[in-house]
Amino acid sequence: MLDTLKSPVLAVQDFYLLTGRALRNIVRPPHYAADIYLQMDIIGVGSLPIVICVGFFSGAVMAMQMAKALAQYGAVGQTGQIVAITLVRELGPVLTSLMVAGRTASGIASELGSMKVTEQIDAMRALGTDPIQKLVTPRLIAACFVLPLLTIIADFVGIFGGFLIAYFNLSMTPDQYWNTAWQALSYTDIFFGMLKPFVFAFAIVLTGCYYGLSTTGGTQGVGRATTQAVVVSSVLIFFLTFFITRIFVSL
């Protein structure tokens, strides 16, 4: 019984130690600027097509669904407002982060996991480099920077997707759609809409790095670590969005 409990407690402890070290290394030299830019490119630019795609279709689908519901109250004109609020507050950050989690957490876990099983992590430590400083911190900084930017893009593309539906299907004028969309948003919406991806970036990168660096059992272990990283980071995103939204609605 005790052994069954020991493993998850140790996992939580290791996760917090990894988080603490990764954060401490942000201010401690050496800083690997080239690795940060490389990761920004991999995480940010690499995720851009899928984020644009998901943002666009989620905005368009929202517009179609909401227009149908709003028509019952004769409020189809409010479609822009609903699409903007839903995307900026919730769907933009969550869907973007889920896409990045699927792409990046798995990529990080498999890359670091492969390095672990081929003793590259040990070699790094033996050759004077802290693997957390070299591998985890640059990914964390890069994701914290690019995920909010990706969310802004997804939000905008989503609202634009909603506009196309409103313009072509609902016969709304551009002014009507964009004015209601813009006026519906408050600074609090935008702040929380940006805070969420920033927090999710921690969940995605640290989960991917944790599972990657704890990989055991050869190539099979790498596959297992990759799956766990995606599942856990996705669940964490929903868990965290619940708590952030809870704070938001209580303001």
Partner: protein, 274 residues
């Protein structure tokens, strides 16, 4: 550089390492002195790799003390361990080469990242080339590890390990999975490094011929390979054999004692001439 023969380079004092229920090293004590060659035999899972990683401070013992160059590793921060590790060269079982870096970048890595070994950028390339020339692979500078054969990867691993000219070398199963000809090349290189640079050498292996070669051959620069020494000179090579069995030392002694051992487990590692 002349070595004091009595100088302790690596010392294990009642070291025990456990992974949950499994005991990887069980009350291990031994000492490697300067200039010594220690060959560690053991079946898969006997604790050879764990022992070498513990010597590097990559694994912390549950009890006991590891002393490297007279300094106790317990309680050391990772940054302090980097200083100790800068004086140890290591060849990992899997090579441990960085996939994303070229051969030259791999070999230059310690010169750019170990604070104690850092060189001006223009000297780094020269030193990396020199180390690759030592393992006769200077033509592979721009290749990636994936483009090399298993034996070549081990040789690049040796070049990376020796580039900082460390006084202690650790080899983890350097010939595992290699054909006999390539395995001989690797062992010959290990003898070359040991004899030309007076390096203290610790090698884990399961191949009797690897240990026998190091105990009975000395590198001859005039002919460019290791040659057998007279039987009377074998002791001068200072080779100690050690056998691990389920994390415990089953045997420790000279080549002659190793060959004469009646212990059934130890005898499995000795290839006796019929």
């Amino acid at each position: 550089m002349a070595h004091d023969e009595s100088q302790s380079v690596l010392r294990f004092e009642h070291v025990t390492v456990r992974f949950f229920e499994a005991t990887a090293l069980d009350d291990i004590s031994f000492e490697v002195t300067s200039g010594e060659t220690r060959v560690i035999f053991g079946a898969a899972g006997s604790g050879k790799t764990v022992l070498l990683k513990t010597a590097l401070g990559l694994i912390k013992p549950d009890s006991g003390e590891v002393r490297v160059f007279g300094q106790a590793l317990s309680g050391m921060q990772e940054t302090d361990l980097f200083r100790i590790r800068s004086r140890i060269g290591v060849l990992f079982q899997e090579g441990g080469l960085f996939d994303s870096l070229t051969v030259e970048e791999n070999v230059a890595y310690p010169l750019e990242n170990i604070a104690e070994a850092q060189l001006p950028p223009d000297e780094v390339r020269a030193r990396a080339s020199e180390a690759l020339r030592f393992v006769e692979l200077e033509q592979t500078l721009d290749k990636f590890p994936a483009e090399l054969s298993g034996g070549m990867r081990r040789r690049v691993g040796i070049a990376r390990a020796i580039v900082t000219e460390p006084p202690l070398m650790l080899y983890d199963s350097p010939t595992a999975g290699l054909d006999p000809i390539t395995a001989f090349t690797i062992i010959d290189l290990i003898a070359k490094e040991r004899d030309l640079k007076n390096t203290t050498t610790v090698m884990a292996t399961h191949r009797y011929q690897d240990g026998h070669f190091l105990a009975t051959c000395r590198y001859n620069p005039a002919v460019g390979r290791a040659e057998p020494v007279a039987e009377a000179e074998e002791n001068a090579l200072g080779t100690v054999f050690m056998v691990l069995n389920q994390g415990r030392i089953a045997f420790e002694g000279s080549l002659g004692e190793f060959q004469a051992s009646k212990d059934p487990y130890v005898a499995k590692f000795v290839r006796r001439e019929e």
